[in-house]
């Protein structure tokens, strides 16, 4: 096993990695910024090195200081967590060049999956369903022909586009002419490039992703799906659960088998997640995340597998200690992200000193957090404060445990997402299960957030 792992992250995920290492008997080195001197990961690691000032670009993204820390401390592996350098292929290669094992897939695979067009191509050739689309559409006639073969409704997009400009949803051929002209002129005006292409418009999809683990000998297994359809209007996830409620068995089967096939096709190693849109019984690959994800605990709780320990073992070259037949889920798990954010102001991040913290416990509750009373939340980083995870034999029991856990939670000094999570859990449509990704739309927020005060 590795002698020492450098934990190239902060917050709850740094603690999660330190805990996995301790249980494996592996020493840890924490890195921290000047804004995180008092952070828990600094104290729980065996050693800790300051790598720069508060802003992430000068500390948690400071590759020379991070690599130098690993070399000085004799760390033989590095766990990147999520965010920061976790999906930076160049960084993974630099680690390899310095004889440090990067705990994740190879730089080649990170690079391949990091480029959306490239990833889509790799998936298509592995037989993974992707969102049907066209090449560049030079004329309206080409657009008509493409739309006919893709099937309405379609989404016209500018190749140089961004921020929704040069984008038009088209319901039928009747509307295509005017949409094509206006999207083209908008794209020309905004990007000096009027080229358009087309994708199938997936109407009110669910966001469902599949966890895979792959060892260095080519064994790939899946650990089921996670439904991450409860997203803020910015598409950041807020509540995740597994299994996905009311998902037909054949769709689940297809998602999981496709994910394993995709992992095999790209020569994947370590933990990874394939994100899909699911609508009307059809699945569409969106992207692959080549790292551990925030919401990994829900999977751990129903599969009884420690994903972070598996990542470390796989990176060391150990074979998976189990096959697909050994993996069977038990029960239902759900996670609520408690962020330092103000739901009344478009989830704007809130910084400041946390004056009081009371976290839930009791049967079926797991809390992953770096919070303590007195902690100052720096303004520089992700606003995640705590992940509250509930597990039960059934979805109903997991949900009632979560409601109870959120009621026990008290965090003072900063605004949090705890109350909006409670409102979502109380919602009849959510309780029924299987809501699409626009569930947490403006109408919901208007109805719940603004009436609260």
């Amino acid at each position: 096993m590795f002698r020492k792992v450098l934990v190239a992250n902060r917050g709850e995920i740094a603690l999660r990695i330190i805990r996995a290492c301790r249980e494996l008997g592996v020493a840890t080195v924490a890195i921290f910024s000047e804004a995180d001197r008092a952070a828990l990961h600094v104290r729980l690691a065996d050693e800790a090195f300051c790598v720069g000032p508060g802003p992430a670009a000068r500390s948690y993204l400071n590759i020379p200081n991070i690599i130098s820390t690993a070399l000085i401390t004799g760390a033989d592996a590095l766990h990147p967590g999520y965010g920061f350098l976790a999906e930076n292929a160049r960084f993974a290669q630099i680690c390899a060049d310095h004889g440090i094992t990067f705990i994740g897939p190879s730089p080649r695979v990170i690079d391949q999956m990091g480029d959306k067009a490239n990833a889509k191509q790799v998936m298509q050739s592995a037989g993974v369903p992707t969102i049907p689309g066209s090449g560049i559409l030079a004329t309206l006639e080409e657009a008509k022909a493409s739309a006919k073969s893709i099937g309405y409704p379609v989404l016209l997009k500018a190749t140089a586009g961004g921020g929704g400009r040069g984008m038009r949803a088209v319901e039928s051929e009747r509307d295509l002419g005017s949409a094509f002209a206006s999207a083209q002129s908008e794209a020309e005006a905004n990007f000096q490039d009027g080229r358009l292409y087309m994708e199938k418009l997936i109407v009110r999809p669910r966001h469902i992703e599949v966890q895979i683990l792959a060892d260095t000998r080519g064994e790939v297994v899946h650990l089921g799906e996670r439904d991450c359809s409860i997203q803020k209007p910015s598409h950041q996830k807020l509540i995740e659960e597994t299994p996905a409620p009311n998902l037909p068995a054949d769709v689940r089967e297809e998602l999981c088998s496709v994910a394993v096939r995709a992992g095999q096709a790209c020569g994947y190693t370590n933990a990874g997640t394939l994100e899909f849109l699911v609508a009307a019984g059809e699945i569409y690959f969106m992207e692959m995340n080549t790292r551990i994800q925030v919401e990994h605990p829900v999977t751990e709780l129903i599969y009884g597998v420690d994903l972070v320990k598996e990542q470390i073992r796989i990176a060391f070259g150990e074979p998976l200690g189990f096959g697909q037949a050994d993996l069977s889920p038990h029960g239902h798990a759900i996670e609520c992200r408690i962020n330092a954010e103000d739901p009344e102001r478009d989830f704007a991040p809130d910084a400041g000193r946390v004056t009081a913290v009371e976290l839930p416990g009791g049967p079926g509750i797991r809390v992953d957090t770096h919070l303590f009373a007195g902690l100052s939340i720096p303004p520089y980083y992700d606003s995640l404060l705590a992940k509250i995870v509930a597990v039960g034999r059934t979805r109903a029991s997991a949900l009632s445990r979560m409601e109870r856990a959120l009621a026990e939670t008290r965090i003072e000094g900063v605004k949090t997402t705890a109350a909006i999570c409670r409102r979502i859990l109380e919602d009849a449509r959510f309780q029924e299960g299987g809501v699409p990704i626009d569930f947490l739309d403006e109408a919901f927020l208007r109805g719940h957030v603004l009436t609260e005060a």
């Binding site: 001197r37 720069g52 020379p64 200081n65 690599i67």
Partner: protein, 137 residues
């Protein structure tokens, strides 16, 4: 970093919070340690920098040079020691990181008052290396 370093860094963070929030006293306790800091309200100019220097000994006449990188300290030959008279912009040592020499230069003329590090010592970002007493040029 040693446990003492961690304690020191927490005291520093707490001192900074004290000043930033304009508080008169603050205390934290978590398991093994309990830290209580207070300041006299008659010190309007208390700042994080002076809090650090007070803890390290030297007064406001001292210019403390810190490391910008994570690396190992290498002294030049002959090494500077406490009491050495130096000019401004004199290279006192370098911090070796990833095979690169990162020179540590004096910013003021004076006498070396404190040498915080030893040859070959691992230092992180912000670690104090030398204090220069500029009142003794």
């Amino acid at each position: 970093m040693t446990f003492d370093d961690v304690i020191e860094s927490r005291v520093r963070a707490l001192a900074e919070a004290l000043v930033r929030e304009g508080l008169e006293a603050v205390s934290i306790a978590d398991g093994e340690i309990e830290i209580e800091l207070s300041r006299s309200p008659s010190e309007p100019n208390a700042s994080p920098a002076s809090a650090t220097e007070d803890a390290a000994g030297p007064g406001p006449e001292y210019d403390v040079l810190t490391s910008d990188v994570v690396g190992r300290v290498r002294f030049l030959r002959p090494p500077v020691t406490a009491g050495s008279a130096i000019g401004a912009d004199r290279e006192l040592a370098f911090v070796e990181a990833l095979g690169i020499r990162n020179p540590v230069r004096s910013r003021v003329a004076g006498r070396v008052a404190v040498v915080y590090v030893e040859e070959g010592q691992a230092v992180d970002y912000g670690a104090p290396l030398f204090a220069i007493d500029r009142s003794r040029v």
